[in-house]
């Protein structure tokens, strides 16, 4: 944070913040976050939240502060190549100018999980610092705050900053760049925001034991290589990602994305940050669709495959079948069958796919 911003300085806890900011966030693919617990302790709400308290919710109607940066970086794609990205990251130097050791994420951190937990009704204060070479604003679709049509100017020192404040609505939301979106969003300026209900995902009847956040997106490396001149009419994605990663059949990437035992309920929070619609299919069980764009459905329904349109979110609860064999997997994959890692020659060995492991 730029000094002088309206913000109480707090201890940095720098190392922990850096640990949580690696581009490939450990444990991200296996977001085995249990049902949100309500902590009554007055833990200071800080961007540099220690892992021990990440995702922990403060007392009702708390104020949760998030220090967020937009900056440039690189990202290793599933085929091993490196592409330039613009991404969000938790500020590695909160309370001072510059983002410290923060590294751009594609996607950005999960607000509410990689930070302190956020509960419905909490006041969320996002201190945003822009280190990119063009103006960036934040958009929180689905949250009650007016669109920011100016943003924070290009990141020349001293860096510009801005504070966004809203009272959180419950559910699964995207946050993304609100400026020059046709460039900034496909470059990687997006992430997930999870706001917990008092019980379950959205209240009574939406209880879950485990959850996974699944941010769907695509990357066209030609766009990333030349964001200022790329013609979006030529957009032709090569990499198909969940949480910024492609499935790795020989490794543990997204395999599993979450683990649960027979009979347990797994909440899948789908978010489509990409430019294309994505239909995701679950093999081996139905999933119960409970919310779209964080709007609770009056009549939830069971589906095998459902389309998450570009910009939309969808919440589904999978009850692991009672007869599911321990060690087996429920496969979860893009039914447009973008199941390759982008390398040539084409081989069906990756892409937008993950598994739910039965423990």
């Amino acid at each position: 944070m730029r000094s002088g911003a309206k913000k109480v300085a707090r201890p940095g806890l720098m190392l922990l913040a850096i640990a949580a900011l690696a581009v490939t966030i450990p444990g991200w693919g296996s977001a085995d976050i249990g049902a949100p617990s309500v902590a009554q302790s007055a833990v200071p709400a800080s961007a540099s939240t220690p892992a021990a308290v990440r995702g922990v919710q403060l007392a009702a109607a708390a104020t949760v502060t998030v220090d967020l940066c937009a900056l440039a970086g690189t990202k290793t794609m599933p085929d091993g190549s490196s592409v330039p990205i613009w991404g969000f990251a938790l500020d590695g130097n909160p309370g001072a100018e510059g983002c410290g050791a923060a590294a751009a994420g594609l996607p950005g951190p999960v607000l509410g999980i990689d930070t302190l937990g956020i509960a419905a009704g909490d006041t969320v204060v996002v201190n945003f610092e822009n280190q990119l070479s063009q103006a960036v604003s934040l958009a929180f679709p689905g949250q009650p705050l007016a669109p920011d049509t100016t943003g924070v100017a290009a990141g020349v020192w001293p860096l510009g900053s801005k504070t966004y404040t809203f009272i959180a609505n419950t559910g699964t939301f995207l946050y993304q760049a609100g400026t020059n979106v046709t460039t900034q969003v496909p470059m990687g300026l997006y992430g997930a925001l999870v706001v917990n209900a008092t019980t379950g995902a959205y209240g009574t009847g939406t209880a879950f034991d485990k959850q996974a956040v699944l941010v769907l997106s695509e990357v066209d490396p030609y766009l990333n290589a030349a964001p200022l001149t790329f013609n979006l009419l030529d957009y032709h994605p090569k990499f198909w990602l969940i949480n910024g990663q492609g499935f790795d059949p020989s490794g543990a990437t997204l395999n599993p994305a979450v683990s649960a035992a027979a009979g347990q309920k797994v909440l899948l929070r789908y978010l489509n940050a990409g430019l294309e619609h994505h239909t995701m299919l679950l093999l081996g069980s139905h999933e119960r669709l409970i919310a779209k764009d964080a709007g609770v459905m009056k009549n939830p329904y069971d589906a095998v495959a459902e389309t998450i349109p570009a910009g939309a979110t969808m919440d589904a609860i999978v009850t692991i079948p009672s007869g599911a064999v321990t060690g087996s997997k429920l496969w979860l994959y893009n039914r447009q069958l973008h199941l390759d890692d982008g390398s040539a020659p084409f081989t069906p060995d990756g892409g937008m796919m993950a598994s739910v492991a039965v423990t």
Binding site: H277, T279, L283, G284, N299, Y301
Partner: protein
């Protein structure tokens, strides 16, 4: 009006048109009017001497039943299908070769009863492609089924796979309990982007057994009762001919720049879609997609239309001028909390890749367009013929706005209309998909045919492509 005489007239003209129509592959354009005027394939092509298929609607493959175990023996084989523009496309598919059936696309519609143990045996008889690539393994996954076991073959990512005959002749056996009724896909679980493109998919229909609900119910719910004679399957898919040619010639398969050229319903492109089941000129595409109904009189049960999308693309689908009642998705009823009815009237619904939808459909003659011959008719203005297009001088339009009646058409125009029936397009509204290799009017399009009520005296029957009685 004399219905029988009109039918005879239509048939005579149909016969006269046969050669020409076959040659031009039923090129079609429509004119707008009270209904649409559409070119129709000839009515006078003789039916096969004998076949075990019904003329329209679902064709069930029942496998063999021993006790409560129903076994289907499938083989992955290759063959060709033909497109209305004359192109032939190399395909892979699941086939009942053991039962003496040749190649077909899509795979056979497997029908089973809830509670049965379903066993599907799969052998791999794909041809060895040119080049050194070898034969692909094949497999089947059953989205929407739980606890599918697989034995035999070799381990794959999703399930066990059957290797090619040249390596180790092997058979994979899949087994599961048909626990819930509904409409499901079965499809390849091996390199699915390639094998689904190549056609390795089909429909699985599980009929209810619980609560005293018989086969004429889609689910164990009284609200899903339908007219068994009007049960239809519309299985959607796409074809990029370049990819099929690559597989046929042993070239590398690269879907990166996939661009479908044909858009199919039940393995056929329009206008082949509306031909009867098992017509002899489509020997590898046995399933038709014409949806035929009669106006409900109140007692008439609805038709059941089972949509499935086996393709990779999502398809927004609708019947012109009508709504359907969407009752289920992916084999599960749409229910409100407490078991109430959450079905909904639906016009355009995007059938997403891998999804299925079940819809009930009735055609209510609310405006009395099918009056008795002696009744007064509502005045109707139809467009002047100057504003109607009758390409190739052929039309499906009867010339009359009234259901069950015929009117005058311009001199030289042949009506393929048989009993004054109505036709409504029922199609993908992603309109680049109602083409055959970029040429409209074809592709992912079928017709809703509304036949006049029996009370108007037309002979009752449904087979179009034979000199039978096609008016119910």
């Amino acid at each position: 009006m004399n219905g029988e005489r009109d039918i005879a007239t239509a048939k005579g003209k149909g016969g006269h048109m046969t050669g020409r129509l076959r040659t031009m592959r039923w090129k079609l354009v429509l004119g707008l009017g009270v209904i649409l005027a559409i070119g129709l394939p000839s009515a006078a092509i003789p039916a096969m001497a004998s076949h075990s298929f019904s003329d329209q609607g679902i064709v069930c493959t029942n496998g063999s039943l021993a006790g409560t175990t129903r076994t289907f023996s499938l083989e992955a084989t290759a063959g060709h299908i033909t497109m209305p523009d004359g192109n032939a496309v190399f395909m892979w598919g699941y086939n009942e070769t053991a039962a003496g059936h040749g190649f077909q696309a899509p795979g056979p519609t497997l029908c089973a009863q809830q509670g049965e143990t379903v066993v599907v045996k799969l052998r791999n008889n794909l041809p060895d492609p040119p080049g050194a690539a070898g034969i692909d393994n094949v497999s089947i996954v059953f989205p929407g089924q739980e606890g599918v076991s697989a034995t035999g073959g070799v381990a794959g990512v999703f399930t066990n796979e059957a290797p090619g005959f040249t390596s180790a002749p092997d058979e994979v056996t899949y087994s599961f309990t048909a626990s819930e009724p509904g409409t499901y896909l079965y499809e390849s679980g091996t390199n699915p982007v390639k094998q689904l493109e190549m056609g390795m998919s089909g429909a699985l229909v599980i009929r209810p057994d619980g609560g005293g609900f018989a086969d004429d119910h889609a689910y164990n719910d009284a609200r899903t009762r339908f007219n068994s004679a009007r049960e239809y399957v519309l299985l959607l898919s796409e074809i990029d001919t370049a990819l099929h040619a690559a597989v046929e010639s042993g070239q590398a398969f690269d879907p990166t720049n996939r661009k479908p050229r044909y858009f199919l319903i039940n393995g056929r492109a329009y206008p082949d879609v509306i031909a009867d089941n098992n017509v002899p000129w489509l020997p590898t595409q046995p399933y038709g997609g014409l949806v035929t109904v009669q106006p409900t009189t109140g007692a008439e049960l609805p038709a059941l239309v089972r949509y499935l999308n086996a393709g990779l693309d999502n398809h927004p689908f609708h019947p012109h001028g009508n709504h359907v009642q969407r009752v289920a998705q992916d084999g599960r009823l749409l229910l409100a909390s407490g078991g109430g009815d959450a079905s909904m009237e639906s016009f355009t619904r995007t059938v997403g890749s891998g999804q299925t939808y079940d819809s009930l459909f009735v055609w209510e003659d609310e405006e009395h367009y099918a009056p008795a011959p002696t009744s007064k008719k509502i005045p109707v203005t139809i467009p002047t013929y100057r504003n109607l297009l009758f390409p190739e001088d052929v039309t499906l339009f009867s010339g009359s706005p009234y259901l069950g009646y015929k009117g005058t058409l311009p001199i030289g125009v042949t009506s393929q209309n048989i009993c004054g029936e109505y036709y409504f397009p029922w199609h993908s509204h992603d309109l680049i998909e109602i083409v055959n290799f970029d040429e409209a009017f074809g592709g992912m399009l079928t017709l809703l045919r509304v036949n006049p009520p029996a009370s108007l005296g037309y002979p009752q029957g449904r087979q179009i492509n034979s000199p039978k009685t096609p008016c119910s």
